[in-house]
Subunit: 188 residues, 2 copies
Amino acid sequence: MTTPRRGPRKAQEIFATTLALLAEHGYDGLAIEVVADRSGVNKTTLYRWWPSKDALLAAALRDSNALEFTVPDTGTLRGDLRALIGLIRDLLTRPPSAQLVTAALAAAPRRPELGGVVQAFLADRMARERPVFERAVARGELRADADQVAIMDLLGGAIWFRVLLRSGEAGDRYLDELVDLVLRGGAP
Amino acid sequence: MTTPRRGPRKAQEIFATTLALLAEHGYDGLAIEVVADRSGVNKTTLYRWWPSKDALLAAALRDSNALEFTVPDTGTLRGDLRALIGLIRDLLTRPPSAQLVTAALAAAPRRPELGGVVQAFLADRMARERPVFERAVARGELRADADQVAIMDLLGGAIWFRVLLRSGEAGDRYLDELVDLVLRGGAP
């Protein structure tokens, strides 16, 4: 797939440096000058592509290979949702993405622009997950009137809540149970 | 119900001041000296009951009237869950609790002790919500093998995710849909 180029030649190195600095030093410790220095790129090159720290961070979150994910296509809705939430669990619990998420969440309430970056990231993910639900409706595995965004809020939110707020484990059996609940419900 | 006294006579004023300072100035701006001053209580009285800022904050989150909630008992599991998540939605969107939550979440990743306070608060809430599920199992509205904590992770997590990360609305119809999904599932 050919997409318009969204950054300079060394974009991936720049994104990696940006995310590494965020994970290490938090949002306040992230500076375009340091990114330029560490990636061996001229500061003006960075500013030409991304006029602000938030623009650079948004691009890094969206386009870095480090956060790349492939939308699963296992043949069943149950399999696809289970794979998707396995990816979310890994994102929230494994380095370096876990540190990134913590740094971004800590900074977001004080920096409305960063909140916008997080929203854009999540909206982009949701848009890419849509085919999972469209295929499921076509296969007769999901009610056509089910709120697909609500399903992702439930599944994604449960893992965020458990891992980040309750400091609980999100093991494989727990993930199976989440998918089971949203597909067949808790009623007998 | 008589419970052992958990603080000095002016405990509720002290808790209110503690939470107001947290909401206004964030965790770093919360200081026991200022709480004492504003509540008209001697600093040593505060330290006698709560040896640290985190101990005071934990007590305020657990015992303040401002965060008090009554576990619903509507006669049906659907009604109880809908009422519970209405309370969670209000907690996350209305002042002053919305500001409190934002301040606590912003500080928690940098302050492991505060993470412990949040965990204790959530564990206390979950323990108080247990009867909702026990009654539902007794009435035959919930499978006995359904993971009750996972149900609250799904419902509570969805609202956290939507309101705090996606900056979305959690209106009444959305809340109805969440309960519907976890009770009857998205499968046809």
